[in-house]
C-alpha cells in the first residue's frame, strides 16, 4: 500500500507544484521539496520492512510489499505493485537524487517554474512506478509516463540545440518502447497458449517456456528496449545529445535515475523470463558490454564539451551493468546493483558540477576553462572527488560495484572481464583530462572577470555535493549497508537464472 501512496504523492505533488506557481513563483519549489520529504517519509517503513511470504506471489521469497488489484480482468491485467530489496534501493536512490536535482534546479530554473516542477515530479513518479510495477502492462504505462515529462524538460528548459536533442531522445525511446510493448504482448500470448491463463503478471510469466528462435526474438525485443535506455553501444547516440542539452536537473535525473530503469529492466526481465535465450545470446551481450566500456571511454576522452564527456563516461560505466547481468552470479549481481547506485551518485555529482560551471561561465567548452582551482578551491576539491570516484578509486562506491562485477564476471567469462578491466586504464585518461582542463593548469581568460567570491560554491551547492560525497564514501567503506537490503532479493532472483 505504501508504494502506491508513494507514487500517488509524487503525482499529486506534481499537480500541486504546477498550480502553486499561481500563488508565488517560489512556491513550486517548496511544494516540490515538501513532496519529496513526504515520499522519503513514506519510504522509511518500507525500507525497514522484513521480507515475508505473500499469497499473490506464491513460491517467491524476498518480497517486502505486494499489492495486487483487479484492473482489466479480460486481458489478465492487474494493478500489481511488488517491492523487494532491489526495488527499495532503487526507489530510495530516486528520491535521494530527487532532492539533489531539486537543489540543482533551485536557481537555474527561472522560467515556467510551475510546469517544470510538474514535469520533474511526474518523471520521478514514473520512475518509482517502473521500479515497483510487476505487471508488464502497468510497467509499460509507467515507462511511457516517465518519458514524456522528460521530453518537455529537455525541450523547454534545455540549451542551444534542445529541439534536436529532445526529438532524438523521444524517437529513440519511443521506438524502443514499441519493441518492448510488442514483445510483452507476444510473451503474454505465448504464455496463454502454454498455460491457458492470460496474465501480464511477471510472476505468472516466469514459468513460460521461451526456448527457440521465437524466445530469442522476444528476448531481443526486451533487450534492445533496455539497452537503448541503459544505454549501450550502438544505440547510445541519444544520450550525449540529451545530456548536453538538458538543464542541470534534467541531466542529474537522466544520468542518475533514468538510465537505471534500463539497467533495472535488464536485471529483472531478461534472464528470469528468458533463461535459455539469454544464455544463447550471452556472447553477443558480452561484446556489447565490452565495446560499450571501451568505446565510450575512448569517446569521452575525445570530447571538448564537459557534459558530453561525462555523458560518454556514463555509457562506459553502464557497460559494466550489461557485463554483470550476463554473468549472473552472486558477485556480479551484487556488483551490478551497487554499480547502478554508485554511478547514480557520482554522475549526478559530475553533472551538477558541469551545470554549476556552465551557470557561471556560460560555456561547457573545456578549451575555454583552466586553472579554476585558485578561483574556487572548494569547487575544485569537489570536482576532484567526483572525478576520482568515477575512475573507480577504492574507498568510494564505484569501486565496489566495478570490482564485484569484474570479479564475478571473471569467474564466468574471463576474456570479457579482462577486456572490460582495460576500462580501468582508460577511465583515468578521460577523468584526469577533464580535471586538468577545467581546474588545473594555467588560468584561462574566460573567467578572469569573475571574482572568487562569485565563483565559489554557495551553501546550497555545498549541501547538494556534500550529500552525494557522503553517500559515495559510505558506500565505499560500508557497502553492506546496502547489500544487506538486496541480498535476499538478489539471491532469489539469481535462482531464476542459469548461474551456478
Amino acid at each position: 500500500m505504501l508504494v502506491l501512496w508513494l507514487i500517488v504523492v509524487l503525482f499529486v505533488g506534481g499537480v500541486l507544484a504546477g498550480l502553486a506557481e499561481r500563488v508565488h513563483a517560489a512556491a513550486s519549489r517548496w511544494v516540490t521539496l515538501a513532496t519529496l520529504v513526504v515520499s522519503a517519509i513514506l519510504l522509511w517503513p518500507l525500507a525497514c520492512a522484513q521480507p515475508q511470504a505473500f499469497e499473490s506471489v506464491a513460491g517467491q521469497s524476498g518480497w517486502l510489499a505486494v499489492l495486487q488489484w483487479e484492473w482489466i480482468p479480460r486481458f489478465g491485467i492487474t494493478f500489481l505493485l511488488a517491492v523487494d530489496g532491489i526495488s527499495v534501493l532503487l526507489i530510495a536512490l530516486t528520491i535521494f537524487l530527487g532532492f539533489i536535482a531539486l537543489l540543482s534546479a533551485w536557481e537555474e530554473i527561472q522560467t515556467r517554474v510551475g510546469f517544470f516542477y510538474f514535469n520533474f515530479l511526474w518523471t520521478l513518479a514514473g520512475v518509482v512506478g517502473i521500479f515497483a510495477a510487476l505487471d508488464l502492462f502497468l510497467f509499460f504505462i509507467f515507462w511511457e509516463i516517465m518519458l514524456i515529462p522528460m521530453f518537455f524538460i529537455i525541450v523547454i528548459w534545455g540549451h542551444e540545440d534542445r529541439y534536436y536533442a529532445a526529438l532524438k531522445f523521444f524517437i529513440y525511446t519511443q521506438a524502443s518502447s514499441l519493441l518492448l510493448l510488442l514483445s510483452m504482448i507476444a510473451l503474454v500470448f505465448l504464455n496463454w497458449q502454454q498455460s491457458g491463463e492470460i496474465s501480464f503478471s511477471w510472476f505468472d510469466l516466469l514459468g513460460t517456456k521461451t526456448e527457440g528462435v521465437f524466445g530469442l526474438l522476444l528476448m531481443l525485443g526486451f533487450f534492445v528496449a533496455f539497452l537503448v535506455k541503459l544505454p549501450g553501444v550502438p544505440v547510445h547516440n541519444w544520450l550525449p545529445d540529451a545530456h548536453t542539452q538538458a538543464p542541470t536537473p534534467g541531466s542529474v535525473i537522466l544520468a542518475g535515475i533514468l538510465l537505471k530503469t534500463g539497467a533495472y529492466g535488464l536485471l529483472r526481465f531478461i534472464v528470469p523470463l528468458f533463461p535459455e535465450a539469454a544464455l544463447a545470446f550471452t556472447p553477443y551481450a558480452l561484446i556489447i558490454a565490452v565495446v560499450s566500456v571501451l568505446y565510450a571511454a575512448k569517446m569521452a576522452f575525445a570530447q571538448n564539451d564537459m557534459k558530453r564527456l561525462i555523458a560518454y563516461s556514463s555509457i562506459s560505466h553502464m557497460g559494466f551493468v550489461t557485463l554483470g547481468v550476463f554473468s549472473w552470479n552472486a558477485l556480479a549481481l551484487q556488483g551490478t546493483l551497487l554499480q547502478m547506485i554508485a554511478h547514480g551518485l557520482s554522475s549526478a555529482g559530475l553533472f551538477a558540477m558541469a551545470g554549476a560551471i556552465q551557470h557561471r561561465l556560460h560555456t561547457r567548452a573545456l578549451s575555454e576553462m583552466g586553472g579554476m582551482w585558485s578561483q574556487a578551491p572548494r569547487m575544485a576539491a569537489i570536482a576532484m572527488f567526483f572525478a576520482i570516484a568515477a575512475l573507480g578509486l577504492p574507498g568510494l562506491g564505484n569501486f565496489v560495484g566495478e570490482f564485484l562485477v569484474l570479479l564475478g564476471s571473471f569467474q564466468m567469462h574471463p576474456i570479457a572481464a579482462i577486456l572490460a578491466a582495460l576500462g580501468m586504464i582508460l577511465a583515468p585518461v578521460y577523468a584526469l583530462y577533464l580535471l586538468q582542463k577545467s581546474f588545473l593548469g594555467e588560468q584561462s581568460d574566460t573567467f578572469s572577470a569573475h571574482s572568487a567570491s562569485l565563483f565559489e560554491f554557495k551553501a546550497r551547492e555545498v549541501l547538494m555535493m556534500g550529500l552525494l560525497i557522503f553517500g559515495l564514501i559510505l558506500m565505499g567503506f560500508f557497502p553492506r549497508l546496502l547489500t544487506e537490503y538486496s541480498d535476499v532479493a538478489l539471491n532469489s532472483l539469481q535462482a531464476l537464472g542459469w548461474g551456478p
Binding site: N237, W238, A302, A330, W373, P414, A417, Q436
Partner: protein, 616 residues
C-alpha cells in the same frame, strides 16, 4: 596495546580529515602540528606496538575491524594483519615518514598551499599503512590505489604549470596499467583458491598447486605486472623520472622511501605463491637486473639533480627485485629499509641544496658547494656512501647480502650476478660524478642556505641511520623477518666473488673521480666522441622508452580519439533522418497543389490500368 593497531592508519587519516574540513584556513603552526604530528603519533604507536609484538615473540596478530563487502562466499574484511614484514614496513613508513614531514614543514612553509600539501601527505601515509597492514588483497588494493592517487596529487601539486599536470597524469595512468594487471591477477587467484585473504590464499595455493604450475605462474606474472608499475621497474618505469616535478619532500617520501617500494612488498607478501613458480622468480630477478643496469646507465647522463636521484631509485629498487627473484626475501626488505635511509637523506639534502640555489636543479650550474654548503655537503656525502655501498655504511650490508645470494641461488647465478656487480660499478660511477659536479670544481652564483631545526635535525637522524643502520641490523638486532620468510642457510660464495663484489664500487669511484673530480680525463670529450655521442643521447632519453610508448600507444589513442570525435555510430541515426527527409521531399512533390500534375498523374494511371486490364 596491539588492539590499538588501527590507530596507526587512523592518526594520519584523522589528520587528513581535519585538514580537509578546515580547508586550509587554520594558522600555519596548527597545520604543522596536525600534519606532522599525526605522523609522529602514528610512529609512536608503531613503536609501542612493536615493543609489545617483539617482546612477546609473536608471529602474527590479526585485528578484524568490519566486513567490507559481502557477496556470495566473498567477504573481504577491513582487517589488519601484523607480522614481522608489516612491522618492518611500518618502521620505514612512519619513522622515515615522520622525519620527512618535519623537514617538509620547513621546506614547504612559504608555499601558499602549505595546508594542501599536508592534506595529501597525511592521506598518503594512511593509505600506505593500510597497504602494508591489509590482511586481504582487496584491502591491499585499496591502499595500493590510495597511494597512487596521492602520488598523482603530489606530483601535480604545483598545478599551475601544465607540465606538472602531465607528469602527474602520466604517473597515474602508467601505474594504472600495472594495477589492472594486478586486479586481473586477483580475479584469477579468486577463481582458483576461492578467497583473497592473503594467509588463507597462500595455504590453499600450496595445497592446490605443485611447483611450476601454469596457473600459479600466470597469477605471479600478473602480480609482477602490478609490482613493476608501482615500483617503476621495466617496462613501466617511465613515469618515475617525470614524477620529480613534485615538491622534493614528496620525492623523498613517496618516490624513494615508501610508495615505490610497494611492489617489493607485494611480492614479498605473496612470496609463497612465487615460490611455486621458479620461472616467475627468475623473471623477477631478470626484471630487477635489467632495470638496475638500464637506469644506472641513464643516471650517468642526466643533468638534473633530482632526475639522477630518480634513476638511482629505480636502480636500487632493481636490486630489491633481484633479491626477491633469487629468494633472498629478508635481504630485499633489508635493502628497502637501508635504501629508505640513504635515499631520503639524499633527496632531502638535495632539497636543501636546491632551495639554497633558488630552485636551481641543474647540476652543471652548481659546483664548488663544498665550501659554501659544508653541512649539506657532509650529509650528501654520507648519503652517497650509502648509495655506492661503501663499507660499513648501511647500503653495503644489504647490497652485499643480495649479491651473495644472487651468486648461489638457482634463480640467479653468475650471469645475473655479473649484471648486478656491473650495476654496482655504474652506481659508483654516477654517484661520484654527481657528487663531484655538485660539490667540487669552481663555484658560481650565491647561496642562501635555509637554516633551522626543521632543516637539519631530520637530516642528521637520517645520516646517522644511513651510516650505522646496516651494521646495527647486521650484528645487534635482526629484522623480525625470520617468522615470515622461509629460513635458509646464509649464502657463502667463494671468497674471490665476495672480494670482487666489494671492490668493484671502489674501482667505480676511482674512475669517476679521475673524470669529474681530478679531471685527468675530459668527460665531455669522451661523451662527445663519435662512438659515445649517439649512445649518450640514447641513455639520456631513458633508452627511448618514452618515445616508444608515445609511438605505440599514446599517439594512436589520441589519433583514434581525434578522427572519431563525432562518433561514427551517429551516422546511423543521421542517415535514417536524412532518408526520412528525402522521402518527405519526394512525397510532398506529389502534393504541390497544381491541378495539372494531379490530372496528368490520374490520367496516366487510368491509362495504365486500362492497358493492364485489356491487354494482359
Amino acid at each position: 596495546m596491539l588492539n590499538l593497531l588501527w590507530l596507526v592508519p587512523f592518526f594520519p587519516f584523522l589528520g587528513f580529515v581535519l585538514l580537509v574540513s578546515t580547508s586550509g584556513k587554520m594558522p600555519k603552526p596548527w597545520t604543522t602540528m596536525i600534519g606532522a604530528g599525526s605522523i609522529g603519533l602514528a610512529a609512536l604507536t608503531t613503536a609501542l606496538i612493536a615493543y609489545e609484538f617483539l617482546s612477546q615473540d609473536m608471529t602474527s596478530f590479526q585485528l578484524h575491524l568490519w566486513t567490507w563487502m559481502e557477496a556470495g562466499n566473498f567477504a573481504p574484511g577491513f582487517s589488519l594483519y601484523l607480522d614481522g614484514l608489516a612491522l618492518s614496513m611500518l618502521f620505514v613508513i612512519t619513522g622515515v615518514g615522520f622525519l620527512i614531514h618535519i623537514y617538509a614543514s620547513g621546506y614547504m612553509y612559504d608555499d601558499e598551499d602549505f595546508p594542501r600539501f599536508f592534506t595529501y601527505t597525511n592521506l598518503f601515509v594512511a593509505a600506505m599503512v593500510m597497504l602494508v597492514l591489509a590482511d586481504n588483497l582487496v584491502l591491499l588494493f585499496l591502499g595500493w590505489e590510495g597511494v597512487g592517487l596521492c602520488s598523482f596529487l603530489l606530483i601535480g601539486f604545483w598545478y599551475k604549470d601544465p607540465a606538472n599536470g602531465l607528469a602527474a597524469r602520466k604517473a597515474f595512468v602508467v601505474t594504472r596499467v600495472g594495477d589492472t594487471a594486478f586486479a586481473i591477477g586477483l580475479f584469477l587467484l579468486y577463481k582458483h583458491v576461492g578467497t583473497l585473504d592473503i594467509q588463507e590464499a597462500m595455504i590453499k595455493a600450496k595445497l592446490l598447486w605443485t611447483e611450476d604450475n601454469a596457473t600459479a605462474s600466470l597469477i605471479c606474472a600478473l602480480l609482477l605486472g602490478g609490482a613493476v608499475g608501482k615500483s617503476a621497474q621495466l617496462p613501466l618505469q617511465t613515469w618515475l623520472p617525470d614524477a620529480m616535478a613534485g615538491p622534493t619532500p614528496v620525492s623523498a617520501l613517496i618516490h624513494a622511501a615508501t610508495m615505490v617500494t610497494a611492489g617489493v612488498y607485494l611480492i614479498a607478501r605473496n612470496h609463497e605463491l612465487f615460490l611455486l613458480s621458479p620461472d616467475m622468480m627468475y623473471a623477477v630477478a631478470v626484471v630487477g637486473v635489467l632495470t638496475l643496469l638500464m637506469s644506472g646507465f641513464t643516471a650517468l647522463t642526466q643533468s638534473d639533480l633530482k632526475r639522477v636521484l630518480a634513476y638511482s631509485t629505480i636502480s636500487q629498487i632493481g636490486y630489491m627485485f633481484l633479491a626477491l627473484g633469487v629468494g633472498a626475501w629478508s635481504s630485499a626488505i633489508f635493502h628497502l629499509m637501508t635504501h629508505a635511509f640513504f635515499k631520503a637523506l639524499l633527496f632531502l639534502t638535495a632539497g636543501t641544496i636546491i632551495l639554497s640555489l633558488h630552485h636551481e636543479q641543474n647540476i652543471f650550474k652548481m659546483g664548488g658547494l663544498v665550501k659554501r654548503l659544508p653541512l649539506p655537503c657532509i650529509l650528501f656525502f654520507i648519503g652517497c656512501l650509502g648509495l655506492i655501498a661503501v663499507p660499513p655504511t648501511s647500503g653495503f650490508w644489504s647490497k652485499e647480502q643480495i649479491l651473495n645470494a644472487t651468486w648461489e641461488s638457482s634463480t640467479g647465478g653468475p650471469l645475473i650476478w655479473l649484471g648486478a656487480v656491473l650495476g654496482a660499478f655504474m652506481t659508483a660511477l654516477y654517484t661520484t660524478r654527481m657528487f663531484c659536479i655538485v660539490f667540487l670544481g669552481p663555484s658560481n652564483g650565491d647561496v642562501h642556505e635555509p637554516k633551522g631545526f626543521k632543516f637539519v635535525a631530520p637530516l642528521v637522524v637520517l645520516a646517522f641511520l644511513a651510516l650505522v643502520g646496516g651494521v646495527f641490523v647486521e650484528t645487534a638486532w635482526q629484522l623480525p623477518l625470520s617468522n615470515v620468510f622461509p629460513g635458509g642457510h646464509a649464502p657463502h660464495p667463494p671468497t674471490v666473488i665476495v672480494v670482487i663484489a666489494i671492490a668493484t664500487p671502489f674501482l667505480g669511484i676511482a674512475i669517476s673521480y679521475l673524470f669529474y673530480g681530478k679531471r685527468v680525463f675530459s668527460a665531455e670529450k669522451f661523451a662527445n666522441s663519435a662512438l659515445m655521442k649517439p649512445l649518450k643521447t640514447f641513455f639520456d632519453s631513458g633508452w627511448a622508452m618514452d618515445w616508444f610508448y608515445d609511438l605505440l600507444l599514446v599517439k594512436p589513442y589520441q589519433w583514434l580519439a581525434k578522427i572519431n570525435k563525432k562518433d561514427c555510430v551517429n551516422l546511423l541515426p543521421d542517415a535514417s533522418s536524412a532518408a526520412a527527409k528525402i522521402l518527405h521531399a519526394a512525397l510532398s512533390m506529389t502534393q504541390n497543389g497544381q491541378l495539372r500534375l494531379y490530372v496528368g498523374v490520374m490520367g496516366t494511371a487510368a491509362l495504365f490500368v486500362i492497358f493492364v486490364v485489356v491487354f494482359l
